[in-house]
Symmetry: D3
Subunit: 114 residues, 6 copies
């Protein structure tokens, strides 16, 4: 049986809130960085979200995969776009990226109601 990614996302949100409260100065600056990066620019927000997902898979960051799979769904990415994004990570990360990429697709499917 597959992991419950919504449950995992809730745990990440909860733990993050604690960290932001414990170190509001630096973490506030980090949030500002996130906000500025994810805004539409010459690249739209969805494309940048998919880039963040590609990096998450390539570096095998399980928590980041959960976070950015959810965000990709929210920004309207399609399953086909997510799958192609994952293949870039596989090109750049080999077998480990295939394992975590498969998890990313499963997470996206859960968040996207597929």
């Amino acid at each position: 049986m597959s992991k419950d990614f919504a449950e995992r996302a809730k745990e990440i949100d909860l733990n993050s809130r604690e960290l932001f409260q414990a170190a509001p100065g630096p973490m506030g600056a980090y949030r500002d960085l996130m906000t500025k990066v994810s805004a539409d620019g010459v690249l739209d927000g969805k494309t940048k979200e998919l880039m963040a997902l590609a990096i998450s898979v390539a570096i095998r960051c399980e928590g980041c995969i959960t976070y950015h799979a959810r965000a990709s769904s929210k920004k309207g990415a399609s399953r086909e776009e997510v799958a192609e994004t994952i293949t870039v990570a596989v090109e750049m990360g080999g077998g480990p990226a295939a394992v975590y990429g498969a998890e990313a697709l499963a997470a996206f499917d859960q968040f996207d109601g597929a």
Copy 2:
């Protein structure tokens, strides 16, 4: 209590199948790469499988450890060979490799019926 690695392997297999179906072109090429690398050559398949396990431990890829611990067992690696393989990863990865190496040995023991 230790993790159920057979259960974890099933989840990896299931998610992988979805990814291969969603991106058959690139993932087929990746499968071809895997097949060619794992074949006997001047190095036999078991030795290359142990190398893949060593890398899995050194890069702390939990899913890969499950996958390659199972494959090492299937290719007839002994517990002693797996343990020595893990020590190379510890030399090259320090404490984190010790933590994931210990998990690799536990996974091998489960798959090998030890």
Copy 3:
């Protein structure tokens, strides 16, 4: 609900014992390395423990986070020191370090009885 880090630590300890028994020579040398590094020197043991925690977060080593969060608590680190340590990891690791740093703080809180 958050993870049970004490349970996770027990699993790490158990698996590590098996690895140390399976490869006593190299793993004994590694234990010797750990002992020498963690001793008080020109930097005290607590500071070095926090450095190990910072690295654990920056490299996203979930098992190491459990291990060094517990050790930081045992060496008397305060919650404020742990939080500042995590911010260094976030500076050096971005979003993934924020996710794993939040987990490190949660682990420390459990071990420290917060």
Copy 4:
């Protein structure tokens, strides 16, 4: 004075040719993977090239940065698109990604004749 990235690219090409000749089976399968990933799909080739650059920066792969900065220029990416791509890597990789991202921009500028 900045590095000569064209010279570095030539060295990578030369060494790669040797590796492809030494292991034509697996490396041919890897080339096939690259070809399939970089083709236009639901995401166009330029976007996927920028994703590969983002990953290169996030994982601090100096040779990959050279390779994918050149490819991004060839696929018609603009300096603004490259800069935004790098900021995603900084969000996901912190200071190390800022250092390697700055190198990626310098490489792109050289290849793009800026």
Copy 5:
């Protein structure tokens, strides 16, 4: 003959300036994060600088090593403190950290006029 780290630092500074100008919003937020993290807190600035150096060595970030070796010297870290910091990275990173740690000590020696 050893590398000229002052020259390398100048190149990093130059490339970074370009990146900050090309993406002032996100990079300004990142600079704000750096400033807040490096300030004295419950941990003093020197200790946090050494933590950043430890992470740089553990993740094998050559540019970061140059940057944080220089900053450690500026914040008054002693050679003994730097050496102990490196041993924590070796505990957490094995042989690769020994190679990059040796480079970090050489960089510190150059910046510190040893």
Copy 6:
């Protein structure tokens, strides 16, 4: 023109000597670990050296590649064995491993007098 790996190896040796002198306790324990891992066991020393090379390529550690390419040559590894070892790293590391693997083969060729 390709890098001079013998020169690079000399620089690594020189810097390492300084680090071993600056922190003889921990670094002596690390040397002990290396010695015990590289000894013949159920896996012979050459095989373990090739495993260390595979890890070096997979984690993109340029200094380690130099070090372990030289050691692989000293232990009598053939060019074919090195090439197959690199393909395992490519399976486990994708494009970045192809770039660093190509460098590993070039380094081996220099040390082996090819």
